[in-house]
């Protein structure tokens, strides 16, 4: 049997081949796009942050001008996080405001320098970081060392006499924990 393509004029044959080449390129690009988009979405996707409130205790159990470490199971956890989901915050009751409402300062334990856990020393009224020696005053402001700012402040509220803190994510310089101001 004769080769059937030989019966088709050369020009048509070329056109058909060119069309098929372009079709193949187009189809490959489409395949890459429909495969690539969801893969990139999967690998680099970020879940929407949910807002959770954690009760750290009754508001009146915190003595005025006293700093205490409160630990809780962070609700931002995954089910398989184990003890790494335990989170600590330093709670300081700074006394009532003009309306008589108790006011708090709540700090993440992470140093604002590189995230190491700071310790509270009530004797000297300082937070000290074991890594590079960053130090902070009781109000969280930077006292000395390499940190570029004060401790990260958590958002808090008092609901029916109970002090609640908004579950903190891991804080970094450009992703702090709140509007960084005390609620009115």
């Amino acid at each position: 049997m004769a080769d059937s393509t030989c019966d088709i004029p050369l020009l048509t044959r070329l056109r058909r081949r060119t069309l098929f080449q372009w079709l193949t390129f187009g189809l490959s690009v489409l395949a890459a796009a429909v495969l690539g988009a969801p893969l990139i979405g999967y690998f680099f996707g970020v879940r929407k942050r949910e807002e959770h409130w954690v009760t750290v205790g009754d508001a009146d159990q915190f003595p005025v001008n006293d700093t205490r470490l409160c630990t809780f199971d962070n609700p931002l956890r995954s089910a398989w996080d184990g003890i790494t989901a335990l989170t600590g915050v330093y709670v300081r009751n700074v006394g009532p405001d003009q309306q008589g409402q108790p006011q708090f300062l709540i700090f993440a334990v992470n140093c604002a320098h590189l995230g190491c856990p700071v310790s509270w020393f009530p004797q000297s009224g300082l937070f000290m970081c074991p890594c590079h020696g960053g130090a902070y005053y009781a109000n969280g402001e930077r006292a000395s060392g390499p940190p570029l700012r004060g401790l990260f402040r958590c958002t808090w509220r008092v609901e029916r006499g109970r002090l609640q803190v908004q579950a903190p994510h891991y804080p970094t310089l450009q992703d702090t924990l709140s509007a960084e101001r005390r609620p009115a």
């Binding site: 690998f43 996080d81 890594c131």
Partner: protein, 493 residues
């Protein structure tokens, strides 16, 4: 029997064609002098490869037991250490063979650099080699995270804080790195994936290219002073040299085998004697007293960061590593011709000596970490008795203030205590009472290394503290800068 084997061999060979592909590769000629004493310089690359093979073997072994889940990883490590037969040995070997691989790679890089072996036509071999070094460091960092103890947890925290400084994209990178808003199971899974799939895949792919280039472009002959590399003539000269060469699979490989065997025995002995590293404690972020330290290949960076001024920090974190890698990559483009002999390249020799001195010095600083406060010194290190034997009651009170205000965490007395600030054993010789009051009250000017204690210390405490500090001087020596008449007044106001 032999006939059957021969038939099977011939059947396989007819299909695999190894006799005409792999065999010539393995027996390719190498310069004759490599089989001589100079050949000992060539053993570090193959020994690194041997360490990599050990890492793959022990890694597969560990993966049989290790559970890469945040709530189980620590327990599975304890199981490996104490219950799985020889699990402790495999963990130890994985650590020491990994360390050995880094050491051998550094020596290999230094040797290739000193012998000018990166010059024409082996520029690409060097480039791929640099990538292999970077990937190996990546293996070390991700491997440390899998040890899922406080060092691993806080190592992730420090890594996240560093990545968080990237302009604009920082928060996004941190969240991608941790796989969520907090450090936990998702972060561990990600670092497990990097350590077990992604980086080894890249490592093996680049290693294949590296070895392919070693075979295709050949290994460089030991350098001779006066024998210049000229890309125009090099290939012909090299080909001439290979005519009188020796097969790689023969005399040349013996030294590699000898040294690799020695390296294996050394890491096995280290593993058997020193045992597995950690895990030091459960990865509980609320445990107090955490004092995270990076693994040894990163201690120099820890040291460099800690000793740098604050304004340079973000640069050192984000830009410096890139600059360093680019500098290494640019080496064959800066000079790919001319002399190869170290005796004719004093700048190259000096560069290696200086770089390794800096590396070792910074690593030593990283080990001792004098910039880190000693967090329990205030309660754990008593004031030396010799210092307070003759003290007045108020000076004794001052010594108590000194301890209770945690001064000791940063200031040593007779060498015991923190070293972030100066040792104060003889501070009375250096500073007057007024200067001490100023220093303690206001701290380092401009918010430097010492906090201001003005609001943390009462007037009585300050008086006692300064009285104690000014008394810290050799017997019979008056307080500094104070006339004798006032010395009495300061001592007994």
């Amino acid at each position: 029997m032999i006939r059957t084997l021969r038939t099977v061999g011939a059947w396989l060979e007819a299909r695999l064609c190894l006799g005409t592909s792999l065999w010539p590769m393995l027996t390719h000629p190498v310069p004759k002098s490599v089989a001589g004493p100079m050949g000992w310089w060539y053993v570090f690359g193959s020994a690194s490869l041997t360490m990599l093979i050990l890492q793959i073997l022990t890694g597969i072994g560990l993966a049989l037991v290790y559970v890469p889940a945040a709530d189980k990883a620590y327990d599975s490590l304890l199981f490996l250490n104490y219950e799985q037969p020889l699990g402790w040995f495999l963990r130890a070997l994985h650590y020491y063979a990994g360390s050995g691989m880094v050491v051998l790679l550094l020596v290999h890089v230094a040797q290739v650099f000193l012998h000018g072996a990166y010059k024409y036509p082996r520029e690409l071999t060097w480039l791929v080699g640099v990538l292999l070094l970077v990937l190996t460091m990546g293996m070390f960092f991700t491997g440390q995270i899998l040890r899922w103890d406080p060092d691993a947890y806080w190592g992730l925290a420090v890594g996240g804080s560093m990545a968080g400084r990237v302009p604009v994209l920082g928060p996004r990178i941190v969240e991608t790195m941790f796989g969520g808003p907090i450090i936990g199971g998702n972060a561990l899974s990600r670092f497990f994936t990097l350590h077990v799939f992604v980086i080894p895949g890249l490592l093996l792919a680049f290693l294949a290219v590296h070895l392919w280039l070693v075979i295709k472009k050949g290994i460089s002959a030991p350098p001779q002073p006066g024998q210049l590399v000229d890309p125009k003539t090099y290939d012909a000269v090299y080909e001439q040299e290979l005519r009188g060469g020796v097969p790689f699979l023969g005399e040349a490989i013996l030294k590699d085998l000898f040294f690799s065997a020695l390296a294996v025995i050394v890491v096995v002995a280290l593993a058997a004697v020193l045992g597995p590293k950690g895990p030091s404690a459960p990865p509980d972020p609320t445990l107090s007293g955490a004092n995270p330290r990076p693994e040894w290949p990163f201690l120099w960076l820890f040291g460099l960061l800690s000793l740098s001024p604050a304004w340079a920090e973000t640069f050192i974190i984000l830009v410096f590593p890139v600059v360093l890698i680019l500098a290494l990559l640019s080496v064959p483009f800066v000079s790919n011709r001319g002399e190869r002999a170290p005796s004719k390249r004093p700048v190259a020799v000096l560069a290696v000596v200086v770089l390794f001195t800096i590396f070792c010095t910074l690593t030593y600083q990283g080990v001792t970490a004098p910039w880190s406060p000693e967090m329990i010194a205030w309660s754990g290190q008593p004031v030396p008795e010799r210092i307070v034997r003759e003290s007045s009651p108020r000076q004794l009170q001052g010594a108590l203030v000194f301890q209770n205000k945690n001064c000791r965490n940063c200031h040593a007395l007779e060498g015991a205590g923190g070293r972030r600030g100066p040792d104060l054993t003889l501070v009375g010789v250096r500073l007057t009472a007024d200067q001490l009051i100023d220093q303690v009250s206001n701290g380092t000017p401009g918010g430097g290394n010492m906090p201001a204690y003005a609001s943390q210390i009462g007037p009585d405490e300050m008086t006692a503290l300064v009285d104690f500090l000014t008394s810290l001087r050799p017997a019979g020596r008056p307080a500094v800068g104070v006339p004798a008449s006032r010395t009495l007044a300061t001592d007994r106001p």
